[in-house]
Assembly symmetry: C2
């Protein structure tokens, strides 16, 4: 089984991806983002998206109740159902789910979050964020057994039924653990992991998993989080991770052939 995580950029070509999926001879699960659409709709609704920088330098979305509502609209509504429709057009029997449905992604909420503002550290107590701790293996297996393709996105849910924002990339590593998945594919709007930010000629072809820490230190923003998820995934038993370009034809096949960045 493969987990395919697809970024939330507008240049991702879902038709190419759907065409390619019919050539994949394994079961697969799709996890997707929706960041570009989130920005667009929040601007239209006049909801300011605030970011938090943790003391260790991680940047994440400040998720208050309004932002969480917006997130369910954009991730579970607009984008998830666009993807389901596209996959169905290509004869893939997709079922779109959030991490909340059937407690698919069961998580815990962070009671407090530290936010670095200049030289000061603020304590935030109303952020509806957390992390996924376990996955509903029964529900996913049941769908896969009957040839449905799960298409999953945030939010996750706590045992008390509260919706929480989590990091999709890190949720993927918990899924890999619980479902004993050995292969992960991450598609985004780059040809692979770039040595130099925004320089497509600096693509790294291969990374030894033992060197991930080095790349983690030098990476920034969303890529840092992606690599953190990848590092966790290896600790959870994943054998190979493929980064690839979600804008090109046959994106999964190309990534699996090693035409993006291979980490193993």
């Amino acid at each position: 089984m493969i987990i395919i995580k697809v970024g939330g950029g507008k240049a991702i070509n879902w038709d190419y991806l759907a065409e390619d999926l019919s050539s994949i001879n394994e079961k697969y699960i799709i996890v997707h983002g929706a960041n570009a659409f989130m920005k667009e709709i929040s601007n239209k609704l006049g909801i300011t998206q605030n970011l938090i920088t943790s003391p260790s330098g991680h940047i994440s979305r400040y998720t208050d109740a309004k932002t969480l509502e917006l997130l369910t609209m954009v991730y579970c509504g607009l984008v998830n159902k666009k993807i389901v429709s596209c996959l169905q057009k290509h004869k893939i029997n997709a079922v779109g789910l959030s991490g909340a449905d059937g407690k698919l992604w069961l998580g815990i909420k962070k009671e407090t979050i530290l936010s670095k503002v200049g030289t000061k550290t603020k304590i935030i107590t109303d952020s509806l964020t957390g992390k996924v701790e376990s996955v509903n293996v029964e529900l996913i297996s049941m769908l896969l057994d009957k040839n449905y393709t799960p298409v999953i996105t945030i939010p996750a849910i706590t045992k008390d039924g509260e919706l929480i924002n989590v990091d999709n990339d890190r949720a993927v590593s918990v899924m890999a653990k619980d479902l004993q998945v050995k292969t992960l594919v991450f598609l985004f709007e780059e040809s692979g992991l770039l040595e130099k930010f925004n320089d497509p000629t600096s693509k790294i072809d291969r990374i030894n998993k033992d060197d991930l820490e080095k790349y983690l230190e030098s990476s920034e923003g969303r890529m840092k989080k992606k690599l953190l998820g990848v590092k966790e995934a290896f600790a959870f038993g994943v054998k190979s991770v493929y980064f690839g370009d979600g804008r090109i034809e046959k994106p999964v096949s190309q990534a699996l052939k090693g035409n993006g960045t291979v980490i193993n």
Copy 2:
């Protein structure tokens, strides 16, 4: 098995509903609307919601591509996940799905729609609306067998993977047919079917199903459509339909006791 259709008004009390559901000794499926939220979000986004009056007097939403996107955001995103979260808080293992997921509600698109504007009749060709023709019984049964509660809403999907807006109430009657359901409960923001519009004292306690045509003629707007769905449901083998108040404690139990309007 019971299908419980819950209206999309803001006064529906989902906590009361969820508490009540634990007392129901049968399997059930929930279908929900989101009309009030749709109005609110479309106003905020500056998307005008146009209505179409058919030559026979039925009023429906004019669903162009923009409206369909908004509809997925509000119905499948915001409201569906709010409901899933509420049910999960009450220990009901809800799984939120749209009619598009796993082709749950497979429908056909209307190629043209007639719209009465004053004395003229306009032909509309870009409306993404249609009707549900069949239901994915396998997917629903699979979920119910494992004690998941399906929470379903629009849109439906065509065999070609196109999302279409359909009438939730009429989709309920097709579900009743395919799943051989004999009992339907409709909860909304009234105490039952009212003889006089907006007059709560005029609640009708019981309607003979053979008299439905009479009530159809005298009803208007959304209630007319609801009664049309009910009429179809009886033709499809349903035995009893209960209209009840979605704002009160124990709304399903109260409706089943006959405290709203019973049609049989």
